[in-house]
Symmetry: C2
Subunit: 389 residues, 2 copies
């Protein structure tokens, strides 16, 4: 029952999302399995950047209105909301993931005065750890690590967790953990960086309070593209984030003397919207038009399953560190090998792009909008040629 | 001694910077006097954005290295440093002005533990007020207003001040106020938004400690372009800013568990650099190549003087609110009139773009790289046609 290239070709032929790859511009011969780190370029972006330059040239400062620059943060928020199971007005695109995490974490602690602890997993993405460490130092709170036995009890103000683990791709039980946090009166803050755009995210269904995410991975916004933040509607008027710039003011151009938070998620903004990055993201999100998150998940699972099955046949020296069950895994498969870094470097020379996470993890992402089953087949073929015997 | 259009033409003919206007793309017939709000588009930007799209397409995630994306924050910092009188390693381009102000203000207060007050001017740009209010609330400090008699004494941790007043264009005494702050052991934090790129700024000569600024005004980086932050070399290792994301980590990709600040200004970064905005800014700064800040100041003063003289002749109903002495004024002239908002709207219909600041200020900016003396002449002609008799 050896898997052949013909099997991969057949899977592509039956793939309802196969045509979406044309929305992207990927160099011939490259197998790009690093869309979980930086998404591939949607074709629409270059044109959108040229149109941006035209708008600026033609209308100068007037383009804040005429070209819709002023409304981008909220409008992009509604586009992202659909992908994360949120209401249209519960998401805003602004700043960076870590910056938004800082703002929401401080806001969460303020909504739970008197509680002395923040919980996170030591296995979380390091930037989340660093931000949580910084917030705890700033506010005089204690940081506990859930995966090291720190208790989730009524001293906890907020729990921070990634929906999909950046190393293993494991999907967390969003509804279950949120319920556990709520049981002790804590707030729940999700990091969606490694899930949104690849698998279904249901913030509303899970009863989540707060969330952050980036747009440069599965959302393909480009390097350092603007991030987003989610606040459940029921909490929006109570969120007081600490970076109170004019971007989050209720009447920015009134130039009033005192800060007054804007209604809803608009108060999470700090300054002017980074228009060029937002214009690129707006075009990038067009690649999701007409696609359901369920279809994305099915395609991602199919790609991942093929990769795991092929690896079992041809890459026996690699140890799977992702969950074996595709339903428990995001759109990513990770393997461990002592020579992981060198294997990835040599694979890259052969046009297979994955990435390395210390000490010995190889990550391969299967962005369902543009990765094909034949890409997966090619990747395993080329990696097999460089794994030490 | 009426000033004529011929006089303006003569001034342009003698202007050593006249050729620089070709580096910009400004619509025919438009007199753009709002570069102090959003700079005009440098011609090089559109091409740089197209090149960015090519880099992303060709090298995907590899472009962080091959296209130099990873070095943009520091490299742009060195380019801005020249314009603000700083050493090359004292400036970094990152985040937004208000976000950087937040970070540096918290860091400054941490460097002055035990001091209970922050000073600012009530006349400062509102976003600076809001951020200072937010920081004081966060840290339990008191905010005092210098221009309302708050004493500058040894209870003050840090003084925040704009180099050029956004309403009146008045230049502050950077060296003098910095010395006064230092006399009582306080730190001095300058906002350069309305000065950098139009007049000389000498952070080193003034002994300044910290500074922030935007790049979308006189630096022409485009709407919401990335901001910069300055930390004097002697303080860099002591700055501890509170938003400790992986962008400011000493070894970002080591994925270590604990935050460890990067050396120098790199620690002011929070997350990934907003590459698209930075690429645009990099191209925009090319417009300053071969230009000294002294030449910019001279041109700006010449434009402002012409405007003031013409206004005295033809716009007697307008009250000058900027300093009369060009040496005391940034590259901006402001007038007050009860009907300011309507006058500006009607002038805009005639192609003259200035801007309104409540309650009755009209601001006109003279970006020395692209505004001509004939533009100034045209502006006064067209404004005279709409000022109520």
């Amino acid at each position: 029952m050896t898997i052949t290239r013909a099997d991969a070709v057949r899977l592509d032929a039956a793939d309802p999302l196969a045509g979406l790859r044309d929305r992207f511009d990927i160099p011939e011969g490259v197998v790009y399995l690093d869309g979980n780190s930086l998404g591939a370029p949607p074709r629409a972006v270059a044109g959108a950047l040229a149109a941006f330059a035209d708008d600026w040239r033609r209308d100068l400062i007037g383009a804040w209105g005429s070209a819709g620059w002023g409304g981008l943060a909220a409008r992009l928020g509604t586009r992202v909301a659909r992908l994360v199971g949120a209401a249209e007005d519960e998401v805003i695109v602004t700043d960076t993931t870590s910056g938004n995490l800082f703002k929401l974490l401080v806001a969460a602690c303020r909504m739970r005065p008197g509680r002395s602890r923040v919980l996170i997993e030591a296995a979380n993405f390091p930037s989340d750890l660093y931000v949580a460490q910084g917030v705890c130092e700033l506010l005089g709170l204690e940081l506990g690590y859930l995966d090291e036995g720190a208790p989730l009890d009524e001293t906890v103000a907020v729990v921070v967790h990634s929906h999909v683990d950046f190393r293993t791709g494991e999907i967390a039980d969003m509804a279950g953990l949120t319920a556990r946090a709520h049981d002790v009166g804590a707030l729940m803050l999700w990091d969606l960086c490694h899930s949104a755009g690849a698998i279904p995210v249901d913030l509303t269904g899970a009863g989540a309070d707060l969330a952050v995410g980036c747009t440069y991975k599965y959302l393909n916004g480009g390097p350092g593209s603007p991030a987003y933040a989610y606040v459940a509607g029921r909490l929006q008027d109570r969120v007081r984030q600490p970076i109170t710039g004019w971007g989050g003011h209720a009447r920015r151009f009134a130039m009033a003397r005192e800060f007054e938070p804007a209604p809803g998620t608009a108060r999470l903004q700090v300054s002017q919207a980074p228009v060029i990055g937002m214009v690129a993201l707006d075009a990038a999100l067009d690649a999701f038009e007409g696609v359901t998150v369920e279809a994305l998940r099915d395609k991602a699972a199919s790609l991942g399953e093929l990769f795991v099955a092929l690896a079992a046949e041809r890459l026996p020296a690699l140890r799977l560190v992702s969950p074996r069950d595709p339903a428990a895994r995001g759109s990513q498969v990770s393997f461990a090998h002592p020579a992981a870094e060198r294997i990835l470097a040599e694979a890259a020379e052969r046009g297979v792009v994955g990435d390395f996470r210390p000490p010995e993890t190889m990550r391969f992402g299967f962005a369902p909008l543009y990765v094909r089953h034949v890409d997966v087949y090619e990747a395993v073929e080329r990696i097999a040629a460089v794994v030490p015997a």
